[in-house]
Symmetry: C2
């Protein structure tokens, strides 16, 4: 959490991550949909990280970072903070390696997420739901217990781990013209860009985010990290600002950042549930929403979409889609 900033990973780090993840992470399937091909005029390939362990791509980065530790480091424990999928990912990855894990969570975290982290055997330390309280609590845990801090995105091994999803996608699908993924903190899109630009330099890489959390688009245009202004998007995975490392990659290797409305996102999510019969979370629908809204020109192209996760609270579904219960 201090000292000189490390470099972003390169393609060799992603290859090494893929070796580390073998047997620990799922190689997720790539699905296609005639319906969405017809609606976009493109050929779409959905890399289904909603079927990944803990239900999200986050497992790749956390698992790679933890598997990269020397055993004596790992045995001193892993510490992270998260109100979402990263906490579950760290908890499960640590358990698989037999290392103790501590997850700092805001005291207003959803019950279902607290239970999931606890179910994977991690200790939970609650803190106030503010950034300073969270940082102070992590720091306190590190001083009291020692151990290694694994941040949710701004870490070379986390970025390299996330890049393995795109690596598999390009191994499974030939001739892609474009790969599109959501951007929150930027771990996924930067790992994706490093993998894609190495394997297929002419393939475009585009980041998509909610207009209500358009910090990545503003940062991309201004050339410096712009903080998130509001957090009113329902895409709870995408409310974070970029990191130093991830922005460095996005600035240099991502071709564009596009934004979509909340309505388009919920509509795309619903269409995926109805047509593809898979559960995706709101954040996950952002790239497809961008294609359906015409924010990216994809006519006649072969397009890879990273489906990031499927962790939703089904109690909320009525609010997103529905009529009042009868």
């Amino acid at each position: 959490m201090s000292g000189e900033l490390p470099c972003p990973p390169d393609f060799a780090d992603i290859r090494q991550a893929a070796l580390r993840l073998h047997g620990l992470a799922h190689r997720t399937p790539v699905l296609t949909s005639t319906c969405f091909n017809d609606r976009t005029g493109a050929q779409l390939f959905f890399k289904c990280e909603n079927f990944q362990k803990v239900g999200a791509f986050k497992f790749r980065g956390a698992c790679n970072a933890i598997a990269a530790l020397r055993p004596e480091q790992g045995r001193r424990g892993i510490i992270t903070h998260s109100s979402g999928n990263h906490g579950q990912a760290v908890a499960l990855a640590a358990r698989l390696k037999g290392y103790p894990a501590t997850v700092v969570m805001p005291d207003n975290a959803a019950r279902i997420k607290v239970e999931a982290v606890r179910g994977y055997g991690a200790e939970i330390v609650f803190c106030e739901a503010t950034t300073p309280a969270r940082a102070a609590t992590v720091q306190r845990c590190l001083s009291e217990r020692g151990g290694t801090f694994i941040p949710p995105y701004d870490h070379p091994d986390v970025i390299a781990g996330q890049g393995t999803a795109a690596l598999e996608l390009l191994e499974d699908v030939a001739g892609l013209d474009l790969v599109i993924a959501p951007v929150g903190g930027g771990g996924l899109i930067s790992g994706t860009a490093i993998a894609v630009k190495h394997l297929r330099p002419n393939c475009r890489v585009i980041a998509a985010e909610p207009a209500n959390a358009d910090d990545a688009a503003r940062s991309f245009r201004s050339g410096r990290i712009e903080p998130v202004a509001t957090t009113t998007t329902i895409a709870d995975g995408l409310r974070t600002s970029l990191g130093e490392l991830t922005f460095d990659v996005i600035r240099t290797q991502v071709d564009d950042v596009v934004t979509v409305s909340e309505h388009a996102m919920v509509d795309a999510m619903r269409q995926v549930w109805e047509r593809m019969k898979i559960i995706i979370e709101p954040s996950c629908a952002v790239p497809l929403a961008a294609l359906l809204e015409g924010a990216v020109d994809v006519a006649g192209q072969r397009v890879g979409i990273i489906i990031t996760g499927g962790n939703v609270d089904l109690d909320q579904v009525g609010q997103w889609f529905g009529r009042a219960p009868g």
Copy 2:
């Protein structure tokens, strides 16, 4: 609709159906779930017909029956009745062969289903939502227009088509001890039993249905077709009574019929959405509910489950799972 009853299909008919369906129906994936393996103490293999065309196994039977017609027969048109997945299946299968289709639907059919049938290019003829009105309307259409009637389950080619799902499952998964599928009219379970008992005679075949529509269980015990007494189950695909042909197969080739409560069904459906990140309809959750409730002893066994379909009205989800919208 009249004359002597034909024989049930045999395994050769299922093989032939598989050839006819090649290139028309999807070969659907088989998914596994560590979570449900742990909860049942068995190894479960989910044959995902929710990813089938029109979102349900019904496409197999309709498509086989239509593909079996001589072209001059087909061109005179296809007629069926359905308030559910069979109507969509006939409409799409007829369109793929270039034949005109007419679907008789109750005038209270869900808007989403009417639109789906129309979207596949079939003509819709509405009738009152009663069995006599439906039969009379089908008969009138047949006299006025000619054409071939394809019933939803009690037809050798429909049964043979449905049996191809189990055929694929046994090709993809070795050493199954049990295959379990829901029973409504019996088309799926009878096709499944014919395929399984031919390929693997010692593999058990079990039918599962809601206790609120337990006509198959009562028929299996009494040895004659018992009509459905109530239709209060939310498993709308399983409210029908058995047919003559399907009962003949069930009576002789199915090992048992088990029932589950409405609560267990909804709970199993929710668990599948949450854990496997796939959308399944209520009818579809019945076999897994039976395993989770311990209605079938599966400890240590390899169990195939036919996941029948994923067509749900998302407007209803809040009613099934949720709290009131906030």
